[in-house]
C-alpha cells in the first residue's frame, strides 16, 4: 500500500509536485497518468526514498521507505530502464541486487526466466535493446517478491508481445493481492490494465477515480451517433423531443439526451433511412485530454486573476 499525502517537491522555485495526495491500494492496479514533466517520476522517486519531499509524506505500508527493514522485499521498484551499469551482465546486476537482501541465486534465475531474459543473462547490459533493458528493469522489480510494485513506464519500448506480457503480469500481481502503481503515457494500455487512475498535471492532482468513472466523464460518453439519408427532418424531430443535436460531417448527427432506441424510433417516424446508428463510448484518452485541457484553462484563468 502506498499513501502519498500533501506531497510537494520543489527544485529551486519550480514545484515538480504540488500538494499531491493519493493512495494505491492492495489488490489494485493504480495507473499513474500525466503528460511529460507532470511530476510522475518525481513522485515515484520520492516514494522510494531517492529524493526527499519538500513537504508532505510518502509512505509504504505505513512507513517511510527508508525505514522499511527490508525495502526490496516490501517494494519492487523499476524507475528507469537505464539504471544499470552498461558493462555488467544482466545476471550479475540482478545478483548484486539480490545479495543486498540475502536473496538466493535460485530466485535470480527464476526472474530471469520469468522475464524471458535467460538467453541473454550473461550478456552485458550495454548491448541490450530498449525492450531487453525494460525486461531487466522489471526483473529487478520482481526479485524481492514484494507486496508493492512501483513501475515507471514499464511498457516503454516493448514489442506487442512484451506489452501483452506486462499487461498479464500486472493483472496477475494485483490478483495475488499486491499493490501496483504503474505510470504510463499510453492511455490505451492503462485503460486495459488499470483499475483506478490517478491523473496529475503540473504536479497537481486532476482526478483519482476508477477507470470507468473517468472514461464516463469524457465528452463523447453518452452520445448517440446516427447517419441517415435525410438528416434535417430527423434533427427537428429529435429537438422537438428535447434532445441535443449536433450535425456532423457526411450527414451524421451526434445526439445527446436520447437513447439509441429513441433515435431509431424517431427516424422511422420521419421516414428517414438509417444508414448507421450506435452509442458512442468515450475513451480514457479523451477523458484525459479533457482533464488536462481543463487544468490548463483553469490555470490560465487563475493567472489572470492573480495578475489583476
Amino acid at each position: 500500500m502506498i499513501e502519498v499525502e500533501a506531497l510537494t517537491k520543489r527544485y529551486g522555485r519550480a514545484a515538480a509536485v504540488d500538494g499531491l495526495t493519493f493512495t494505491a491500494r492492495p489488490g489494485t492496479v493504480t495507473g499513474f497518468l500525466g503528460p511529460n514533466g507532470a511530476g510522475k517520476s518525481t513522485t515515484m522517486r520520492v516514494v522510494v526514498g531517492l529524493e526527499r519531499p519538500t513537504s508532505g509524506t510518502a509512505r509504504v505500508d505505513g512507513r517511510r521507505y527508508a525505514d522499511l527493514p527490508a525495502p526490496m522485499r516490501a517494494v519492487g521498484v523499476m524507475l528507469d530502464a537505464r539504471s544499470v551499469h552498461p558493462g555488467r551482465t544482466a545476471h550479475k546486476h540482478l545478483l548484486a541486487m539480490a545479495q543486498t537482501h540475502g536473496i538466493g541465486r535460485a530466485r535470480v534465475r527464476e526472474v530471469l526466466e520469468q522475464t524471458g531474459l535467460e538467453p541473454v543473462a550473461h550478456r552485458r547490459a550495454g548491448t541490450f535493446s530498449l525492450g531487453m533493458g525494460q525486461r531487466l528493469g522489471i526483473a529487478g522489480a520482481l526479485l524481492g517478491d514484494a507486496a508493492t510494485l512501483v513501475l515507471d513506464e514499464p511498457v516503454n519500448g516493448l514489442d506487442p508481445d512484451g506489452v501483452l506480457w506486462v499487461r498479464r503480469l500486472v493483472r496477475e500481481l494485483a490478483a495475488e493481492g499486491r499493490t501496483v502503481l504503474l505510470s504510463s503515457h499510453l492511455m490505451h494500455e492503462l485503460a486495459l490494465c488499470a483499475d483506478r487512475v490517478v491523473v496529475i498535471g503540473r504536479g497537481r492532482l486532476l482526478a483519482d477515480a476508477p477507470v470507468q468513472e473517468v472514461v464516463a466523464r469524457s465528452e463523447r460518453a453518452g452520445v448517440v451517433r446516427v447517419r441517415t439519408s435525410d438528416p434535417q427532418p430527423l434533427a427537428r424531430e429529435l429537438l422537438a423531443a428535447g434532445a441535443d443535436v449536433a450535425p456532423q460531417e457526411g450527414g451524421a448527427l451526434h445526439v445527446r439526451g436520447a437513447t439509441v432506441d429513441d433515435v431509431g424510433t424517431a427516424a422511422r417516424r420521419c421516414g428517414a433511412t438509417v444508414l448507421e446508428l450506435g452509442a458512442e463510448s468515450g475513451t480514457l484518452e479523451e477523458a484525459y485530454l479533457q482533464l488536462t485541457r481543463d487544468a490548463v484553462e483553469y490555470r490560465t484563468a487563475d493567472d489572470r486573476e492573480g495578475a489583476r
Binding site: 492492495p26 531517492l50 527493514p69 539504471s83 544499470v84 558493462g87 541486487m97 545479495q99 543486498t100 490478483a175
Partner: protein, 277 residues
Amino acid sequence: MRTDPAGTRPAGRADPARRGPTPTRVLRAEWTKLVSVRSNAWLALGTVAATAVTASGLGLFVRPEDGRSGSWVVTSGFVVAQVGFLVLGALVGTSEHTTGTARTTFAAVPRRLLVLAGQVGVTAAAALVTALVALGASYLATSPARAGDAPALDPSVPGASRALLGFVVASVAVALLGLGLGALLRRPADTIVGGLVLLVVGDQLLAANPGRLTDTVRALLPSSGARLLQDDAALAALDAATLGPRLGVWGGGAVVGAWVLVVLGAAAYRLRRHDLR
C-alpha cells in the same frame, strides 16, 4: 472486483526484519558489482603491468653511487601505480551516478551510508590485492636490475621492509581517496583531475618554489602518503631538505589517512543530504 487480497497474500510479507540489508550482504553485493565490470579487471591488470614495467625500467638507470636502496628500486613503480589506484576508486565512486545504477542501488538499500561503507570495504580489498600483486610483479621485474648495478633488497636496511608494506598501504589510501572524491564529485573527469592535482601536480608545482609556506602546504597534501614508501635514510634526507614541518616516519601516512577520512566524510554528507537522480 478482485479476489480478497487478505486471502492471497504473497509469501514473505509477514517476515520480520532479518530479511533486509545487513553490512555483510551489502558488502557482498558491492563486491559482485565491482568484479562483474570487466573494465575494473583490466584496470587492475593494467596497473600491475604498468607498475612492474616502470619499476624494471627505472631499475636500469640506478647506479650504486645514486644512494638509492633496494626497496626504492622495487617500489619505484608507485609513481605510475597511484594513477591506477586513483582511477579504480574514482570508478567505484562515480559509476553509480554516471550509469544510473544509483537508482537501483539506493532503492534496494535506502540506508545510503551502508552502501558507501560497503564501497569502502570492497575498494580497499581490491586495492589491497592489486597492490600485493603489483609489488610481487615489481619484485620479479626488478630482480635483473638488482642483480646488476642497482642495490640489492636488503631487509637489514632500516625501514626497508616498512617501505615494502608502505607501498601497499599508500596504494589502498590512494584508492580510497579516489572513492571519496568520486562519491563527492560524482563525475569521473572531475574526480581524476582533482585527484591528480592533489597527488602529483600540486606537489610538483610547490616543489618548484621551495619556501616555508610552500613546503608546509606540500607536507599537508595527500602526496605525502608517498613517504610511506621511503626507508629511514631517505626519510631523513627528505626531512633535512624541507623548510616546512618534518613529518618523520609516520607523518606522511597520517596526512593521507586524514585526507581519506575528510573526503569520505564529505562524500557521506553529500550522499545523505542530496537527492539522487
